[in-house]
């Protein structure tokens, strides 16, 4: 007897409905025709409730990240590629080589399947480029109005080589602070869409997987203390976190911090500070002063680090203040972000 015919998913005009999350045929079809087809790898193909992976042979790093971005598509990326980059970067900042990802999807009833397909393809491409396999996943559908199109939660597993011990508590007075490139590109790219402000020169998100950049930095700078990606809260918040963890202060040079002219102008216009805006393809590195030149050269030699710069130094400070030396010869505090970043009125 021949297999009965099932009409393929209508990826052009179809919409996500509640049956796609109910565990029945519609869900199985969504999984096989979209997720499994795009993410294709041997572990996923096992088709079980879990992926059984070979022994890693080194310490394991694990990181998880949930993505709830609006709009789903923005200049320079989308929620799919972001869901891969975000988790890959969290692993990479610990010096890990990312290997596997899991992906949990919460879909809102009514989401066009065409949008979902675009997101899944983008995710698959980002995973391929980063050399990670999406080995297991889950799909749920919530009623219309109870989600924001799609939420994606990814968990990543990677391995850390012996001798690599990066941690936020290792910054020491005298260390040098490096930044891999311009600040604020992602946040302003998203904001330009969200607020429908339509900037004349479109700003692209910097969303990218940083693990090869991180690996090259680590190879060139064996004394590296730590790496962090300044995502939400931007550079300011990330440096304050490190200062607190390490019990140190920091002193930055304002004019050494790279910010694209278009991002600076957009921030100026909206009354925002680029040092607090999210990035998705930049890293902060802290290393001993004598290795800073080698670290900077390694960053600048990588396509994602061409605009890398030394932006300041770690200092002893019981208050754990992050200070910025302004162009004016004065100093100001670079504080934690309080609440949500809101534009000023005047």
């Amino acid at each position: 007897m021949s297999k009965s015919y099932t009409r393929p998913l209508d990826l052009k005009h179809g919409l996500v409905n509640l049956t796609h999350g109910s565990g029945g045929r519609a869900m199985a079809q969504l999984v096989s025709e979209l997720f499994a087809a795009e993410f294709a790898n041997d572990w996923l193909a096992q088709g079980n409730d879990q992926a059984i992976l070979p022994p890693p042979g080194a310490r394991i790093a694990i990181a998880t990240d949930s993505h709830v971005i609006s709009p789903l598509f923005f200049p320079g990326g989308d929620i799919g590629s972001l869901a891969v980059h975000g988790t890959v970067n969290d692993l990479a900042m610990g010096g890990a080589t990312p290997l596997y990802l899991s992906a949990g999807f919460i879909l809102e009833e009514g989401l066009p399947l065409a949008d979902l397909a675009r997101i899944v393809r983008s995710m698959a491409a980002a995973a391929r480029d980063a050399g990670v396999a999406i080995v297991t996943g889950d799909t749920k559908v919530v009623e219309r109005g109870k989600g924001d199109g799609v939420f994606i939660s990814t968990t990543g597993v990677g391995v850390v080589a012996d001798g690599v011990n990066l941690s936020g508590d290792q910054a020491r007075p005298g260390d040098v602070i490096l930044l891999s490139g311009t600040l604020g590109d992602h946040g302003m790219a998203v904001m330009s869409q969200r607020e429908s402000l339509g900037f004349a020169s479109p700003i692209l998100s910097d969303s990218a997987a940083l693990h090869t950049l991180a690996a090259e930095l680590l190879a060139a700078c064996p004394g590296l203390r730590l790496m962090r990606d300044p995502t939400r809260g931007g550079l300011a918040t990330t440096l304050n976190e490190i200062a607190q963890q390490s019990g140190v202060g920091m002193r930055l040079q304002e004019n050494a911090i790279p910010v694209q002219a278009s991002v600076r102008a957009a921030c100026e216009f909206l009354g925002l500070d680029p040092l607090y805006i999210a990035n998705e393809g930049k890293l902060i590195a802290i290393c001993p002063a004598e290795q800073a030149a080698a670290a900077l050269a390694a960053l600048q030699a990588h396509p994602l680090g061409q605009q890398a710069a030394i932006i300041g130094e770690v200092v002893a400070d019981a208050h754990q203040f992050v200070r910025v030396a302004t162009d004016f010869g004065g100093e100001r505090l670079l504080d934690w972000l309080s609440g949500e970043m809101l534009p000023r009125i005047c």
Partner: protein, 372 residues
Amino acid sequence: MKYVDEFRRGDIARGMAAHIRTLVQPGRQYRLMEFCGGHTHAIARYGLTGLLPENIRLIHGPGCPVCVLPIGRVDSAIELALRPDVILCSYGDTLRVPASNKMSLYQARAKGADVRMVYSTKDALQIARDNPHKQVVFFAIGFETTTPPTALALLQARQEKLANFSVFCNHVLTPPAMRHLLAAGDAVELDGFIGPSHVSTVIGSAPYAAVATEFAKPVVIAGFEPLDVLQAVAMLVEQINAGRTEVETQFSRAVTLQGNDKARERVAQTMTLRDSFEWRGLGQVPHSALAIHPDFAEFDAELRFTLPYRHVADHKACECAAILRGQKQPQDCKVFGIVCTPDNPLGSCMVSSEGACAAHYHYGRFVQGATA
């Protein structure tokens, strides 16, 4: 950034600061109030105080739009926002202003209120067009700078017969507040004003003449960039040294004597002067605020909805009132940086980065090694 970077050059700033040091007379005090929060922000952000000689003291004024908004008006806005048929729109900082019962518009949003942050009154009009079955209220706050866009929204709403749109008007006026500060019995000793920047582009420099002559205080209208502020300080020092009490305009690239006629006409057409209005920190100030003009009564949220006004006293420990009058500095307040922080503001001066307390907390508190 063209026309911005030029006014932020550190080398020129250092030169100007050196020039100011040659101007000041030793043994003389120069107590200058920067009226606007925009100046307060620039001073803190660029660390200008540290560049000036010690006998120049910059005193923060009440010109921060969200700081002077009395709690009672925010309570009314929250009450409106919590109505299921209302979408309340306002500018960014306003959402965080603490009101009664630990509420703010942010909290109201968490309780289900539909509160939208807008960048422009145009956005509020669009929300009204998109939601014909909802009442869309624009919570209008700010000085003369933000008033003309509200006026335009009223005119546009009338033209489109946008029946579901209304304005909760809280616009306040600068010159009456300056006069009130100087006339008060316990007025802070001042030698001059750094005059408003954006406000003056609308109202012009003429309205400050009364302040300068009646109270014998020089006023220099200054731009919001750091070099503007430094140049204005130099101009004030020169006036004070010469015993002059004139209105001068440093911000001449944008401010004229009569201001923006078109903007003022539209405001006069759509709004009318209130007899009195409560300012946080200053109390009731006569003729210091605008209401919707009777001709536009159909768009007046205070008439469309019943909004009884209740005066609400500040938190007992909060020194916002004295700080807004220039009588105290943020670090003089017992709760500054301890109970009152930008994450958990007790008073409105800690809310906006233009507020004296928030500006000092964000940028300057390491100077006296305050609380970590």
